[in-house]
């Protein structure tokens, strides 16, 4: 029999993390290097692509300005509220639909059909229904997000193995125990993926709604800076939003990787 103590040592995990960071730093260095190269070869005028140093300085400056922080606050609030509504609602609804044969047959095709429609074309209707305000942004965020969550919930339920449920029943599990001890961990990897995708859809929907018509928020700032040819601010804003989105995405992906072997 194999050696029982052949677990990978802890420092190997640190090594992996260090290597990950190194790859990241390398990627950033290449991006910024290319950026500067484009400028120094004169491929783009500095009015259109300001030097990276200026942009980073602007980003730092923006982040410290209360006025900018207020806009960030508005967007974060909209994103969080929409996320907190769309994800649990989508998961609960999706499981309820998939658990019932009747509602599966009726609603699943509709969900898939609506999912294929680009949600952006409904934005004007949200403005007409809600006006230009917080509720409209949140509503559009939820609408942009919920279909991917529903579809993920369908496949999360499919990933529950009947064998695993049968084992629990054979050992006398109650329905509640089966739900918490078998269904939930079985679905966890797919649901984490749903959370990650939901945030991408949600952020896209809300930033778009802000760019289209808004009095506050990061999307509105980005649109304004673009219209006013404020490239430094525009690029600084893009970098900040990209960083925030990537950090969220990678954090969830880290949890996903932790339970990757649950899918077997």
């Amino acid at each position: 029999m194999a050696n029982a103590s052949a677990k990978p040592p802890a420092w190997l995990g640190l090594f992996d993390a260090a290597r990950g960071l190194l790859v990241w730093a390398g990627g950033l260095a290449v991006l910024f290097g290319a950026w500067q190269a484009v400028l120094s070869f004169g491929l783009m005028p500095p009015e259109l692509l300001p030097p990276i140093g200026d942009v980073l300085a602007t980003a730092a400056d923006l982040a410290s300005r209360p006025d900018f922080q207020r806009h960030v606050g508005v967007t974060v609030a909209e994103v969080m509220v929409a996320f907190v509504i769309a994800v649990p609602l989508g998961i609960v609804l999706g499981i309820a639909i998939a658990e019932s044969r009747y509602w599966s047959e009726v609603l699943k095709p509709i969900v898939f059909l609506v999912f294929s429609i680009p949600k952006t074309i409904f934005l004007p209707m949200f403005i007409l229904a809600f006006g230009i305000n917080f509720a409209q942004k949140v509503g559009f965020g939820v609408f942009s997000t919920i279909f991917i969550v529903l579809i993920s919930a369908f496949s999360a339920l499919d990933s529950v193995k009947s064998d695993h449920v049968r084992v629990a029943r054979a050992y006398g599990a109650t329905p509640a125990q089966i739900a918490w001890r078998v269904y939930l961990p079985s679905m966890a990897p797919v649901l984490l993926e749903a959370v990650r995708l939901a945030m991408i859809f949600n952020l896209t929907g809300i930033l778009l709604a802000e760019m289209y018509a808004s009095r506050a928020g990061l999307g509105q700032l980005i649109a304004n800076w673009g219209e006013n040819f404020m490239l430094r601010e525009l690029l600084a804003g893009i970098l900040l939003i990209a960083a925030a989105a990537i950090v969220f995405n990678e954090t969830v992906r880290w949890f996903e990787a932790k339970c990757e072997h649950w899918r077997t």
Partner: protein
């Protein structure tokens, strides 16, 4: 370990002479009875007779193997004996009480695929049945460790199923079946997915565990060799509708050894099963 004393004495002697008497005491914890069991499936209005007039009387501490062609309903029969599936007619008694629902205190179940939870370590998988009933953490940890040691997995407590081989997974599954210390262990083709070497050594392992614990074992398989090698008694089933067409008392001495497989008696036993199954298997 709390095992009824007559079984303990049997395991001490080991030999065939120590077998429980054929007269079954139905209320003994390890006794299994199946009484006129019938089962029919009704799929979309089409009624299929799956099992017909199944009668079984298994004495405590016996190792009984149910063998039959694929699709004969032997696995379904076992699922009914565990209380997981309700038969159309007839009843199953374990330890003298009807099995109307699964009862881990009476019957431990080992499934075809090991069916371990991939999010739990070997230790936590074995603790699972205990944790469902709120056994205190320290006690269930000790009991699970004990059973993992019994199946030869000491030192593998912290491994996840994906870090274990097929045979090791089935060992964990057997430990899980034993952790509540039920008098009866039911196994549904537990080694079917393993390669031949592993299957033979797992058979030996199971016999060792059986002799050590004195449980009643009901073992379903489609392998003639496995049936003849493991069993005190072989129940041969026909193709659908599954009926019992033969009961064979295996008089090979214990402990069974690999060398016995090449004896004339072993060949006779295999042939007796095969002659009855082959006429069924083609149909």
């Amino acid at each position: 370990m709390a095992i009824a004393s007559p079984q303990k004495s049997m395991s001490a002697n080991g030999g065939p002479s120590a077998k429980s008497p054929l007269r079954v005491v139905a209320s003994a914890p390890g006794a299994v009875q199946v009484d006129n069991l019938d089962h029919t499936y009704n799929v979309g209005g089409r009624v299929t007779k799956a099992l017909e007039q199944i009668k079984l009387d298994i004495a405590p501490g016996r190792f009984v193997v149910i063998v039959g062609p694929s699709g004969c309903g032997k696995s379904s029969l076992l699922m009914m004996m565990t209380g997981l599936v309700t038969p159309t007619a007839g009843s199953v008694y374990c330890g003298g009480l009807p099995m109307t629902a699964p009862d881990p205190d009476r019957v431990g179940v080992v499934f075809q695929e090991a069916s371990l939870y991939p999010w739990l370590t070997a230790q936590d998988n074995v603790e699972f049945p205990l944790s469902l009933r709120g056994v205190p953490k320290a006690e269930r940890a000790a009991r699970a460790r004990d059973k993992l040691a019994l199946v030869g997995l000491k030192g593998f407590e912290d491994r996840y199923p994906h870090e274990l081989s097929g045979g090791m997974k089935q060992r964990v599954s057997i430990a899980r079946g034993l952790v509540q210390n039920p008098p009866i262990l039911m196994l549904d083709e537990p080694f079917a997915a393993l390669d031949e070497q592993t299957r033979i050594s797992m058979g030996d392992e199971l016999l060792r565990i059986w002799e050590q614990t004195g449980k009643t074992v009901v073992f379903v398989t489609h392998s003639l060799t496995e049936a003849a090698y493991l069993a005190d008694e072989i129940i041969v089933m026909s193709a659908r509708p599954g009926r019992i067409i033969d009961r064979i008392d295996v008089d090979l001495p214990r402990p069974r050894t690999y060398a016995m497989m090449s004896t004339p008696r072993f060949a006779e036993l295999r042939e007796r099963i095969w002659n009855q199954i082959k006429t069924q298997a083609g149909s």
